[in-house]
Amino acid sequence: MEIPYIFTPRKDTGMVNSKIAIWLFLASEVMLFGGFFSSYVYLRLGADYPWPERALPVLPGLINTFVLIFSSVTVVFAWAGLKLRKWRMFQVSMGITIACAAVFMVLKAIEYNVKWHHQAVRLKDYTILEGHLDYDKKANTGEVTKDGKPVFAEADQIHVATESLTFNTLRFHKPWVEELLRQAGSNGAKVELAEELSIQGEKIPAGTPLSVDLLTKIQKNHIQSRTNNSDVRTEALRAEWIATYAKPENADKKGWELAPGVNIDVAKIKDQLMLETPSVTFAVKPTTNFWFYHRDVKEGATQSRLRDDTVLNGKLLDSPVAFHNLDAIDFRHVVMKAEEKGIDPVVAIENTWLIKNSKEAREAWEWNKAQTAKLEQQLLEKHGKDENGVAKRVPTATERYRIGWKDFIAKADGVDRGKEEIHVSEEFMGPNYKLREPKHTFPHLKVPRDLVFLSGKFTPAWNTYYAIYFTMTFLHGLHVVGGAVVLGYYLFCGKKMYQSNPEWLANRVEVGGLFWHFVDLVWIFLFPILYLM
């Protein structure tokens, strides 16, 4: 049995099977990316925060655009090579295509990596701070690594001076229990069972040290007791219902009429019930500082709760977000909120916690104001006013209200905005802190935890722009990798196919090339909407 039209096109449709299939597949892909592009439009139009414009480094994106366009040309040469039966031409062109894919992915990886290591914080007054975090030495709990070096908590953690821990026996997360034990161990603290516990006749004395095994044992007991009790109670309730329905006066009544009168008689089944242990408390001696990543903790003044329902009983310690290098300050969100309320933006900015409490931030803001005024003057001189006496061009909101890392460099170098010298690596990787250190370009800053609304790296969690940026470019990246793998297969394993039937390989490469063009086309749309607009 042989499937027809694999090598030679069917006469009335003029196509081989794989060509129909790839066009259908591409139609489906158009709908997939169409869904994402529509979502982009929807999210951007509906955004209730200043949409980041030109927030990404343009240079690597631009290079990637040309790399992909170039590879689309070489993939056609590869196909032509096969059609001309020039194996060498195919090999070289296809090799270049795949090399281009590699260059594209490397640049992409650098871009992602920079984002994932760059901190962003949104304060409750909508000020946005960007930069690199400190490893806060004061918050360090005195732990040491195996080599005797001190372990520092990254300065975006919640610290709790814990007196006791209460675990939810069903939901405790093993790695976190281990982490608690590790932190306790390196502080020389003991975590011991607070009260004697009796499980199925066996007594576990108070003072038994915490271990995952112990918790698992208690968990097992709890599940057994719960299962037993559930059975007993179900049977009791069922018996109650049977008895209720059996009464002659209830003959015409419906279940919902009788329900209020049907209850389990707990006294009757008391002996059959087993003790459940839904939670268990361990004392921490002496009181010890535990720290967890802030997203995993719901902090409270005297009681903080981990996401697995483990309660840390004790005082919440000072857990600031400490910037070692604050490389951008963004007031656009402050301004947006102020304008909604009809407040003068400059007044709103100057009333923020940041401007009131940080000398360096205030200086940067004053510098930025002066630069904006200068720019306004220049624009007025260059473009003039319209017939209503309004300046034809004015500085943008970004120029007015955002102090970016390049601005900090310009300020430290004592030059006007836009005149700063940027090292070429900085165009790809963002500011080079070591290079800028001598001039103290970027301020240090400690933000109290209770002022922070949201803090994290530049990940999809930061805002919907980064969410759609990562999702779309990641998906596109997957397509690049997938396409390169398929084309690479033809390059490295296609020789046999070529020898047996060159037209076969040519068909395959044509289909792969169509896909490759599509991947290129998607990027042509992605680049402007994510990098330029």
Partner: protein
């Protein structure tokens, strides 16, 4: 090197015209033959349907008897630990009800009906009807089945996880679905996340399937099989393929974004200032839109309705002509109707979202398109109905189901009309009326069509007929129970019963005593219907047993077919040996006429199969035979 040797060996066999005998695994499990894959799809889908049905029975207990422990005959499936975790004193809890409700919908739609209609019937019948040796991409076809199976298992595995399975309804609306199971530390292991992973796999599977189907239909038609000679079944599959191809990707986009919301804490569908009872002000960036999810979901969701429907209507359209011995009435209008239907189904989605306050202009547009789409639907149904007119009907088992399909689907369709209108929908939205409406479409409508299909093609697949007696034991009780199950829903819905009450409205009864609370009294008047409906559901479950017995028993004890064409039908699948071997046809297939030439004037027999060469086209035979035939 051994692989090379095996290949060489294989080709050596082929060269000499021997058939390489595949092993058991290759023949029945990892088969690339479209017929085996179709059967695999069919069995898997029916098992999922059974499971979905079971979930519904538990839910119906909670609705009818919310205060009473689940009876032993229903709860024996669960382990004791599971019962302790998910039942409260043996009663179904709200969480458990939500979980079963969400999974009932998901399983029935994505894992049951679509794979049965499109995956099973489509796979088995389509290549046969167009005279192809197999699908265009047999390996892709196999991959499609396995991805579907894995996706389904991933979804269902979550029943046994700490979080339980998804609980946010089959529509999975954010922000609820973005938060659900938030207490699970490793979000990849939460039921709600597994649902999304399963969904992405299912979409991948249906993408591969639809590409394969469309390519096959376009490129692998036999000689003479022109577009207007395609059986209606194939047309319906072609349109279904396009719906799957183009409507699913936006849901995949939504699924990926919701996955990001859950796992990477993005805010695609999370608005600013979200406040929950358990978490307070939620620590998320916000700025997203829950409405965006609804748009993306229903952009798939509506075409999906036709993905469910078209295979069923396709089966019925094959069965009716074969059993009335008349051509399908209005074949061409049905073909054009189904194409228009497919097209229109892409621009009606927001009629599921009238309650979101989209404004009069947009809702008017969607009202118009929604009412428009009833035109091709009615064309299809009317054509089927008129096809019965004046036919000499044979009430074969398949025909009984096909005949019941028409009025039952008709009720489903007509009860949908009021929902098309914004003003009426505002009242009926999210009530049991909606549930009644779409269950009339899906259960006694689509499932009846698919049951018909099982009976119709069973003799081709196995070489034996299914039992008529067992079919009567299955058919009549099912037909009656269906109506007792779904008609009261329409009544309750108009009285305002909400679709997600886990206790069937019981919570409102206390308020009925308060004479000023009119709604409580309305609930009291209609709450007893819950019991009627629940018993109808359970009795119906019992009467599915004859069907299951019939399917398995007939394999061994069914009456053997007398020929390869037991129904004296005209389409190409009946030209194959019974059951068809690998490669399907034993002769060089060619098509000479349209698909439904029954009772043609002047013909010797009452059917002219598509593959039979007409005498007139062979001039050599003309003097002896042609004058008699025409």
């Amino acid at each position: 090197m051994s692989a090379h040797a095996a290949t060489a060996d294989h080709s050596h066999h082929d060269d000499h015209g021997h058939h390489h005998e595949p092993g058991f695994l290759q023949k029945y499990v990892f088969s690339t033959d479209h017929k085996t894959i179709g059967i695999q799809y069919g069995i898997t889908a029916m098992l999922f349907l059974l499971f979905g049905f079971y979930l519904m029975m538990v839910m119906r207990w909670s609705i009818a008897y919310p205060h009473e422990p689940l009876p032993g005959w229903m709860s024996w499936v669960f382990t004791d630990t599971w019962k302790a975790r998910w039942l409260s004193d043996g009663k179904v809890t709200g969480d458990t009800y939500n979980m079963f409700g969400a999974m009932h919908g998901t399983i029935m739609v994505f894992l049951g009906v679509v794979p049965l209609g499109f995956g099973a019937f489509g796979n088995y019948v389509t290549p046969l009807q167009i005279g192809a040796v197999d699908m265009a991409f047999p390996k892709l076809n196999m991959l499609s089945y396995w991805i579907y199976l894995v996706g389904g298992l991933v979804m269902c595995a979550s029943f046994f996880m700490e979080s339980g399975a998804a609980k946010s309804g089959w529509t999975n609306y954010s922000p609820l679905a973005g938060f659900a199971d938030g207490q699970i530390v490793n979000q990849w292991l939460a039921g709600q996340t597994q649902w999304l992973l399963g969904l992405v796999l299912l979409i991948t599977s249906s993408l591969l399937g639809s590409v394969n189907f469309i390519t096959t239909i376009i490129n692998l038609r036999a000689r003479g099989m022109t577009w207007m000679r395609l059986p209606f079944f194939v047309w319906a599959m072609l349109v279904t393929g396009f719906l799957l191809l183009l409507a699913f990707p936006p849901l995949e986009a939504a699924g990926i974004m919701q996955l990001a919301d859950r796992v990477f804490h993005s805010s695609f569908f999370m608005p600013s200032g979200l406040f929950t009872k358990s978490e307070g002000l939620v620590e998320l960036s916000g700025g997203g839109s829950p409405l965006l999810f609804q748009h993306l979901f229903w952009f798939l969701g509506h075409p999906e309705v036709y993905v469910l429907l078209l295979p069923a209507i396709a089966c019925v359209a094959e069965i009716i002509p074969a059993n009335t011995r008349r051509p399908l009435w209005g074949y061409k209008s049905m073909v054009y109707g189904v194409i228009v239907l497919g097209f229109l189904s892409f621009i009606v989605w927001a009629h599921h979202m009238y309650l979101t306050g989209m404004g009069p202009k947009i809702s008017t547009w969607f009202q118009i398109t929604t009412v428009l789409i009833s035109v091709p639907s009615v064309i299809l149904l009317t054509a089927l109905m008129i096809s019965l007119w004046g036919g000499s009907i044979r009430f074969t088992p398949a025909m009984t189901w096909a005949c019941a399909f028409i009025p039952m689907f008709g009720i489903g369709g007509l009860t949908g009309l009021p929902l098309a209108f914004n003003l009426v929908d505002l009242h009926l939205h999210d009530t049991y009326y909606v549930i009644g409406h779409f269950h009339y479409v899906v259960a006694p409508g689509i499932l009846f069509g698919l049951f018909a299909g099982v009976h119709h093609w069973y003799p081709k697949i196995t070489g034996r007929y299914m039992s008529k007696t067992l079919n009567h034991m299955h058919f009549w009780p099912t037909l009656i129970c269906m109506n007792f199950l779904f008609f009261p829903m329409l009544v309750q819905g108009m009285a305002g019963f909400h679709r997600r009450w886990y206790n069937g409205g019981d919570a409102y009864l206390a308020k009925a005593a308060d004479s000023t609370n009119v709604f409580g009294q309305t609930v009291a008047q209609h709450i007893d219907l819950n019991i009627t409906m629940s018993w109808a559901a359970w009795i119906m479950a019992a009467f599915q047993i004859p069907f299951i017995v019939n399917v398995f028993l007939s394999l061994f004890a069914g009456k053997k077919v007398g020929s390869d064409n037991p129904w004296n039908a005209t389409t190409l699948e009946w030209a194959t040996p019974t059951p068809p071997g690998h490669g399907n046809f034993t002769f060089d297939v060619a098509t000479y006429r349209g698909p439904y030439e029954y009772s043609q004037p002047g013909a010797e027999k009452d059917y002219l199969p598509q593959w039979e060469k007409p005498a007139t086209t062979a001039p050599a035979d003309a003097p002896t035979q042609a004058p008699a035939a025409h």
